[in-house]
């Protein structure tokens, strides 16, 4: 004790070599840290850029189709029909009975010879069908219509195809044109890659997400509010908290099995429907919302609760007038994360039968449906090379869906954000 106080302290040598070395080390450590941080950001930005460039590069072609012109002499082929019978509700069946498909086929034979039918996509006549429905006057004249070619030639024209297709491409080079593939936005799944569309899967995703949000958001928010504001702090509450945290970490395919066992087998809900998909994804999303909701509720300053209680607000009024509005931005952040995860989820939906080939878009929550990530998964498995670019195009649509959803949620969050 005494020796310590008596020990003379040497004056600090701020300019000494040891001190300078220490300073240099400190600066070096700081530079190193900055470099590592920058490196990490550049690396992740690079990956993101690579992903986007590859996806957009491939996917862009999925939105276009290669077309060849076809001249159809309607008056000659039909023997002269009036355009009026293709207006109104019977238009479609009248077109069928007129034999539009045969007219298109024979026109192809006329213009491109016997092998002509190998050039055009088998579903090409539906394009003509749609055009007539839009403008019946076409059937009274000679018309030149651009029809999509078969998938092999499409691939060969856009990229590198098989030798036979490449030969045909060079044969007709100069006649091809590229048009926007509207079918891709309005059709559903099909066996011909020229005819597939994303609309069915998009609508399925939309309905599933709505079901998920309607279930997971209120249940998650109320659970979070109850656990934070009302539940007594005891063993049982702790147990529930641990369970919810674990639930958020359960692999998603397990939720699929749960959905299969509970919703399909026990409750007997319709298979492959958006209802079951939404329920299963809601199970998965709810714990994320509960956890983020609890943190957001916890972050509301206690002084606000005291202020409200102090002028005679009931506990319920404190929660709904003060705590919830202040916690809402945080809750919405958690909801974005949960919903984004649910939107990209494939595994649990495979288990409940949303991987079926579904050629018509769902019109309700119980109709068989598929969702965008499952559709991407299915197309990526196809042998036909025409599906490659469709897969990329579907990924772009999924990413755009995700971006739109997140933008909306961020907008809502900023609107509710309280400025102190």
């Amino acid at each position: 004790m005494n020796s310590l106080t008596e020990m003379k302290r040497r004056p600090t040598d701020w300019q000494g070599a040891a001190m300078q070395k220490r300073i240099a080390r400190r600066y070096a450590a700081e530079r190193r840290f900055k470099a590592i941080g920058m490196g990490a950001i550049i690396l992740s930005a690079g990956f993101l850029a690579f992903l986007l460039i590859v996806m957009v590069g491939n996917g862009f072609r999925g939105f276009t189709q290669t077309e060849l012109p076809l001249e159809i002499d309607f008056p000659a082929a039909t023997g002269g029909v009036s355009s009026s019978q293709f207006e109104g509700p019977d238009a479609n069946s009248n077109l069928q009975s007129m034999g539009l498909r045969e007219i298109v086929d024979s026109s192809i034979d006329l213009q491109y010879g016997e092998a002509g039918n190998d050039l055009f996509s088998p579903g090409g006549w539906t394009t003509v069908n749609a055009m007539i429905l839009a403008d019946p006057k076409i059937v009274e004249q000679k018309a030149t219509i651009y029809l999509p070619v078969v998938s092999e030639i499409d691939v060969a024209y856009k990229d590198v195809g098989n030798p036979e297709a490449e030969k045909r491409v060079s044969e007709f080079s100069g006649q091809f044109s590229t048009g926007f593939n509207w079918n891709f936005l309005s059709n559903s799944d099909a066996t011909d890659p020229m005819q597939v569309g994303i609309w069915g899967a998009f609508k399925g995703s939309l309905i599933t997400m709505i079901v998920t949000l309607l279930l997971a958001f209120p249940v998650g928010v109320f659970a979070a509010l109850y656990l934070e504001e009302y539940a007594p702090k005891n063993r049982l509450t702790d147990l529930i908290e641990v369970s919810i945290n674990n639930l958020a970490a359960v692999p998603s395919i397990i939720f699929g099995l749960l959905g299969l066992a509970v919703f399909l087998n026990f409750f007997g809900m319709p298979r492959s429907g958006a209802l079951v998909g939404g329920l299963t994804l809601a199970l998965m999303t709810m714990p994320v919302i509960v956890i983020s909701g609890r943190n957001a509720v916890k972050a509301v300053p206690p002084s606000i609760r005291e202020a409200a209680l102090g002028i005679g607000a009931s506990p319920l009024q404190v929660v709904f007038h003060h705590v919830l509005p202040l916690a809402l931005p945080g809750i919405l952040t958690g909801t974005i994360i949960g919903m984004a995860r649910a939107l990209g989820e494939t595994a649990p939906l495979l288990m409940i039968g949303m991987r079926a080939f579904i050629a018509t878009p769902p019109s309700g929550i119980t109709d068989p449906a598929t969702v965008l990530p499952v559709q991407i998964f299915l197309w990526s498995d196809e042998v036909d090379r025409g599906f490659v670019e469709k897969t990329s195009a579907a990924i772009i649509v999924l990413l755009l869906f995700l971006l739109t959803m997140n933008a909306l949620a961020i907008y809502l969050r900023n609107r509710f954000e309280t400025r102190w």
Partner: protein, 279 residues
């Protein structure tokens, strides 16, 4: 067991009280009466056998060193301690002869009748208008927009804030300065027309000028509301109060006229504290 005893003793106090409530208009009638109050946080006893009367016509100051229980006791007077699960209160606290801890007492109504102003200004992150209007709205004190406007204006006027904010009632209450925020909180408490206002160190987060304004305000509010103020600042207690209670280690050491406490304390401990020997 304890509760039954408490109830019995409360009845006897009720009897004595009913004789005094006849003379409500007179200055002698106590607005709130606490007798033999004990407060426990779990096993720890925070308040030991405190009995005190709060009058309408005087400002009562609670002074004492940190941790002496003065804030705890204040928070018992409008049952804010209910929010702490481990807190337990025994003894009687009466508001005009009604036991505030009785089962028949609605705690929400009690807190409207016994308002509170906190240490740190805590306006709601809403407009100035909504801060004041919130209390009257939830208690249904105004029948229309005009009446609500009137309540907001008169509350702000009584809190001495009207002149400063009348042109920006829609601005956020949190955009005001610290002193203005605290006066806003007082106005918010006044807006529900309480009988008692409890102030828990209302000036400890404020600068001297803002403090002076709050003290002035307390003077003006005296007589209309029974005011209890907890303070660390003995000069403040001497300036604003007519009655002073000195707490030490959970007990009420001395309670009396402020002038007596500061000039001629009966207890040694009080004298030591006031002269700055500890605390």
């Amino acid at each position: 067991m304890k509760y039954e005893e408490m109830q019995e003793s409360s009845e006897s106090v009720n009897m004595t009280d009913s004789t005094t409530t006849d003379t409500t208009g007179e200055t002698s009638a106590p607005k709130m009466t606490a007798s033999h109050v004990d407060v426990f946080y779990g096993d720890k006893q925070a308040i030991k056998d405190v009995s005190i009367d709060v009058n309408m016509d005087s400002v009562t100051a609670f002074i004492g060193p940190s941790g002496c229980g003065k804030s705890t006791f204040l928070r018992c007077m409008n049952r804010m301690n209910d929010t702490i699960p481990i807190a337990r209160v025994t003894g009687d606290i009466m508001l005009e002869g009604e036991d505030i801890y009785a089962a028949s007492m609605d705690v929400v109504q009690l807190r409207a009748r016994v308002g509170m102003v906190f240490q740190k200004p805590n306006p709601f992150p809403k407009s100035i208008y909504d801060n004041i209007a919130y209390g009257p709205r939830i208690h249904g004190l105004a029948t229309g927009k005009d009446e609500l406007d009137h309540i907001v204006e008169s509350s702000l006027q009584r809190a001495g804030l009207w002149g400063e904010v009348k042109d920006r009632l829609q601005d956020s209450g949190t955009a005001l300065s610290g002193g203005q925020q605290q006066r806003l909180c007082i106005a918010r408490a006044i807006a529900v027309d309480p009988e008692v206002i409890l102030m828990d160190e209302p000036c400890s987060a404020l600068d001297p000028i803002a403090t002076a304004k709050i003290e002035e305000l307390i003077h003006e509010l005296r007589g209309r509301y029974a005011i209890v103020i907890v303070t660390h600042n003995m000069q403040q207690a001497a300036r604003v109060s007519q009655k002073t209670a000195f707490f030490h280690l959970g007990t009420l050491v001395e309670y009396g006229e402020t002038t007596d406490i500061f000039t001629n304390p009966r207890e040694e401990k009080t004298r030591d504290y006031i002269t700055g020997r500890y605390g």
